[in-house]
Symmetry: C2
Subunit: 453 residues, 2 copies
Amino acid sequence: MEIRQYISENDSRFMNELFSLIRIPSISAKPEHKADMLACANRWKELLIEAGVQRAEIMPSEGNPLVYAEYIISPELPTILIYAHYDVMPAEPLELWESNPFEPEIRDGRIYARGADDDKGQGFIQAKAFEYLIRHNLLKHNVKFIFEGEEEIGSPSLNAFLKEHRKLLKSDIILVSDTSMLGADLPSLTTGLRGLAYWEIEVTGPNRDLHSGHFGGAVANPLNVLCSMLSQVIDKDGRITIPHFYDDVEEVPAAEREMIAHIPFNETSYKAAIGVDELQGEKGYSTLERNSCRPSFDICGMWGGYTGEGSKTVLPSKAYAKVSCRLVAHQDHAKISQLFINYIQDIAPRSVKVKVTPMHGGQGYVCPIDLPAYKAAEAGFTKAFGKQPLAVRRGGSIPIIADFEEILGVKTILMGFGLESDAIHSPNENFQLDIFRKGIEAVVEFHQAFDTL
Amino acid sequence: MEIRQYISENDSRFMNELFSLIRIPSISAKPEHKADMLACANRWKELLIEAGVQRAEIMPSEGNPLVYAEYIISPELPTILIYAHYDVMPAEPLELWESNPFEPEIRDGRIYARGADDDKGQGFIQAKAFEYLIRHNLLKHNVKFIFEGEEEIGSPSLNAFLKEHRKLLKSDIILVSDTSMLGADLPSLTTGLRGLAYWEIEVTGPNRDLHSGHFGGAVANPLNVLCSMLSQVIDKDGRITIPHFYDDVEEVPAAEREMIAHIPFNETSYKAAIGVDELQGEKGYSTLERNSCRPSFDICGMWGGYTGEGSKTVLPSKAYAKVSCRLVAHQDHAKISQLFINYIQDIAPRSVKVKVTPMHGGQGYVCPIDLPAYKAAEAGFTKAFGKQPLAVRRGGSIPIIADFEEILGVKTILMGFGLESDAIHSPNENFQLDIFRKGIEAVVEFHQAFDTL
């Protein structure tokens, strides 16, 4: 049976299976969802067995368990290791969702739910492409699956897991569907990812909340201090001021900037899609460069003082922020993390106590476009989408991709099917059904092209 | 009966009566406490009747009702109008209280509860001093009481109420117990108060929370922008940068600075009491000047983005702050409010939308120390505390004091009995029992000295 017919005939079963995964709120950031993590891993194990793997098992790690599965034709044949993650981001703010984030709903040709795209939907594409190949006796190489449950919190246990199971995970190429394309009509493959460093900052002023009338003006206010410190991290040209921050940043080569300038990109539509009148970023770089090849600094969350209704005149005792830097290839996240901590401690006034806690981090990644597996992915996209995909660097981070290279010594092909409008990590995350179907087709074609290249 | 004996013999009744007021959580900032406001007003009405007023009534306003009571000996005699407020601040953060904020507990000679000092405890001092005078036939002038229920939210309805009831509230002097003394052994009368302007700021960036990897560096982050704007409000010398902000600020006269320099003040103890290593404020001014005679700018609350457990890499759609300025005499709060709004709109980048909402505001106040009523207050303190009180300006705001002057044409005597250690507006607010008792004595003496001066 042709792949398109197979997808069409199995449509309702596919939806039921995917929905059963989505309904499990596997939010790795929240300890109260511990039981959901195991439930979701088990559901993946069942689905992989039904898809046709020879064996599948839940493997413990220091944190949430991983799902491992394999189909080994012969140890002589090349092996593709497919990675996905079964955990999802928190769904807050819940009031902005139009339907329950954990009860998937199909509206206007899209599945709406937390994880519909990232990464349950995309992981499911891999499982169903594999199922098709197995059921039609078309698989000519070995396939291994590894699905983890901590990607959204920075994969704290994966590093040790990879080291412990190097042999089990032995492979020739890793395939990951967890990235986006430039557009529904603009297929693309991701050849670069940004790294990440993340910190939580706690500023302590007085030992209790003070009356701002009695103390205001004479005692340092932790919120004032935190605003002042964080505002110093970026200068008026949008450059990060942390000393030595740019030391290892490779300037984008002129040829690549030329290529980026030719990517069809409509700034007006981009602004309209996110509802802003003007874009803002580092001086001297275009928007596409700023969000993919250049580092950034964002305050992801901040809180302190009175945040309820009405007005309370208080000089708060504490102020907090969660902040992160996106890093580019060659910037080491551990080194950057320390530079940031030193910098903040350096600019902190003696009138407050400042604690900076490094949270998760990961290195950037670059994939050479002359790899045979890359060519196979290109062929898969071309078949499914009817045009050759562009090779682009993206701004997101999948810190483990660099770990795969370092620990397993294997390159990764980033064959992702997301769209900007999928709103991953945001309320009303969704996944376009036609892209979902083309994705399965593209992966099927990738496996077949892989055998010939 | 002597006043000290009267206080001693009625001690347990006084506590029961005061506790019955405190147990009503009359939090004006929270709409869900609407019913508690009326309950508390009614309880005050009952207590004033029991204390001996000729009539007492609940009077409606545009917001929470007011309690009015009077004892008129003769229209020919001078009239003292006693003001207090029956509303309290929110008690959050609740986890920092050692006992229930609305179930008063006596520990180590202090009453612990929200409102124990501010302003139920202090208002109660006035009621009990009046009761003593009536029961011993010692009152020689008219007394009126007006207790409001919106002081902690800026008295939004009092202005109109004063205008409507000018005749009813006709008086020669107003007496308010809602301020603090320099110390338990350092009695003082407040002769100046700072004004207040308060705003809420909402910064909107993209129309939804964005993935900080895909958009970070290319799209303005509302939290970054808000930090940057707020950090610009104060310069490195601790001066407020809003154009024309200092236009109407009177420099503290040299003679007054000299007096302030002689107020016993131990900076080491002050820092130890609030747990900071170093103080911080406007260059060129002392701590006591900074917190009383100079304006200040504080971020009272701030929030936005992901504030839960773990790390979420998000570029938030919204960022919020509640900010306030303490103002000094001659600075008009409405003018300052507009200057701030203009300034923030002026420095806001076009990459975000900024909305600044003025919340409550009030003018500063100065009381001349040669007023006969001020002299009477001085005499009352001297009798009760055994030493002459110092005349000091304080940093807090009671915006209505300026309204009394403007609308009723009457000066106010600020005869407050709080201490810094009372932790008003903070967790574990408390009121020292010996000060409470001396307060009643001081007010009794004030009334008697008033008749002779």
